[in-house]
Amino acid sequence: MTWRQRVGKAIPYVLLIISIIPITVGYLWLLISPFSTKTEGLRSLGWTLTNWSFLWKPPFGLNYPSIWRVTLNTFMVATSMAVFVVLVSSLAGYPLSRLKFAGRKSFLSLTLIVHAFPSVTLLIPIYFVLRFLHLFNTMVGVALVMVAFELPFGVWLMKGFFDNVSWDMERAALIDGASRFRVWWQIIIPTIKPGLAALAIFAFLSGWNAYLIPFTFTIGRAGKTAVLSVYLQNFQGDTVMTNWNMVTAVGLFQLIPVMFFFIFTQEYLLNIYAGGAKGGA
């Protein structure tokens, strides 16, 4: 290979490496910082586990809520996201895909429009709704709002998965004597299991990482209604200097399930982008 050819081949790699350096540096710091007393750039000035003390004793004093309660809250939100988004989306996606009814086309366009709508603009109206329902500053309220915001995407996705299932299989089941519900439950749903798994994981991660909605609709940063992303704010103070190492420790703590999920379920998540489910004729 000539010198020119070598350079030509190398250039794309060089460009790619340059563009991911900032991200990589950020993540490296995220991995080094929690285990260091202080860091100078990426260099650790002393290895320690003290930053992780929040795991076994409440930070900032004994009366302060421990991180585990908050983790449980986050887990509850994420799980309800996974369960309800999948449940409602799969129930809604089936008639949208298979049945003819008035307003079907408008409903479909509506889900797309609503999905693209910036949710931030709705924060104030939703506050009034939650207040009215006495759900302000509750985990239920937060979960409800989060599920609602995720549904348009979920419905659209599920409809796509249902579209990919062959009509013949359903017709065969109808002729065999199944009701529509049975067809949905015993025939179609098992066929699109990969798609359901993908949506569940996606919804779970969305709930786990949520910040804006939990923050807006709950009071306090560590109470019964805090989630991890909100709890993190406790470590960033105005009165004392922020202990960044502790911040990154909590941040890494929040990151662990996400990493775990992603490593083991990558292929399921990619199903969403591939747009189809395996199975069906």
Partner: protein, 359 residues
């Protein structure tokens, strides 16, 4: 069970899928719905099954209208082109699914499933999932699933299209035999006229949503009522050419450029004096003979093994002829063609109806 279709029509918005289908199917009869893609045969079948609701018209089982009866109450079995087996269930579960829905007791379910599976030759595959079966085996499971509930009627939607040619041949015979033994009224949708001809008691030919004709295979072959039926049934297809039939000295002649052939009276009189008509003759009814009436040049020779299919041209017309391969004909040969005019067909060019068999 007798099935009657009365003025059955199905529109999908502006698209007319099937229009005014009138059909009577006797108990235990095997009727094929034959036609090209998009002719409305599957639509008609699905209306009989209850999957589609007719836009107008009636579907009657044994005289009673069943338009509003859902598929599960019609006691029918259906076999799909894609087999439509439930991929996440074993063969056993696939076969017992209809019975489970009818709340049949477990033992009876297992018995009936095994009986049907043995009949289909798949009794040893009960624990496998559909993905672990060959195409032919999957098809047998599909057939078994349709039969296990002992239906009053069997519906087939191009079930052999996904099989290889060899398997198709053997399955054709098996399905026909099975239907005869069980005596279940069967409706079989296909675009393959060989399948229809070999399996059906009667064939209903459809085109563009309309029923063209319904008759026995022989009737359709020898006495086609429309131009479409004549051209669709039979392989290689019938030859068509424009002629005028005139009466001269008591004889009927069919004439066009470079073509003048005597027509037997009973056929000629129906076509005479109508101006230009369409003459139809099948390739096997044209032979190469030294005393033939028409001179032609061979344009293409297609060896088919048992015969040679010759494309012969004369006076601006083309005629396909099935000839004996031993004649060793070649492109460019000048030959004389003899037409078996006892088998000739005539059609009205405007209505496309047969001049011989319709009034």
């Amino acid at each position: 069970m007798k099935v009657t279709l009365e003025r059955l029509t199905k529109h999908f918005g502006k698209v007319v899928a099937a229009e005014d289908i009138d059909l009577d199917i006797g108990d235990g009869e095997f009727v094929a719905l034959l036609g090209p893609s998009g002719c409305g045969k599957t639509t008609t079948l699905l209306m009989i099954a209850g999957i589609y609701k007719p836009t107008s018209g009636f579907v009657k089982f044994d005289g009673g209208v069943v338009n509003h009866l859902p598929p599960k109450d019609r006691n029918i079995g259906m076999v799909f082109q894609s087999y439509a087996l439930y991929p996440h269930m074993t063969v056993f579960d696939n076969l017992t699914f209809p019975l489970k829905l009818k709340k049949t007791p477990k033992e009876e379910m297992a018995q009936r499933a095994q009986r049907v599976a043995d009949m289909m030759g798949i009794g040893h595959l009960m624990d496998r999932k559909p993905a672990q079966l060959s195409g032919g085996q999957q098809q047998r499971v599909a057939l078994g699933r349709a039969l296990v509930k002992e239906p009053d009627m069997l519906l087939f939607d191009e079930p052999l299209s996904n099989l290889d040619a060899r398997l198709r041949l053997s399955m054709r015979g098996e399905i026909k035999r099975l239907q005869m033994d069980l005596g279940i009224t069967s409706i079989y949708v296909t675009h393959d006229q060989v399948e229809a001809m070999t399996m059906a008691d009667r064939i209903a030919v459809m085109n563009e949503g309309l029923l063209q004709a319904c008759a026995t295979p022989d009737d359709l072959y020898d006495r086609p009522e429309t131009l479409f039926v004549a051209g669709f049934i039979g392989n290689p297809p019938m030859n068509f050419t424009d002629v005028e039939v005139v009466r001269e000295n008591g004889d009927y002649h069919a004439r066009r450029e470079a073509f003048d052939v005597l027509v037997p009276a009973e056929r000629g009189e129906k076509a005479a004096g109508k101006g230009s008509v369409i003459l139809g003759i099948r390739p096997e009814d044209v032979t190469l003979q030294e005393e033939g009436d028409v001179e032609a040049e061979i344009y293409i020779v297609e060896p088919l093994g048992r015969d040679d299919l010759l494309d012969c041209r004369f006076g601006g017309a083309a005629v396909r002829v099935l000839a004996d391969p031993k004649l060793r004909t070649r492109i460019g040969d000048h030959v004389r063609l003899a037409f078996n005019m006892h088998k000739v067909q005539f059609f009205d060019p405007q209505t496309e109806k047969s001049l011989l068999w319709t009034d």
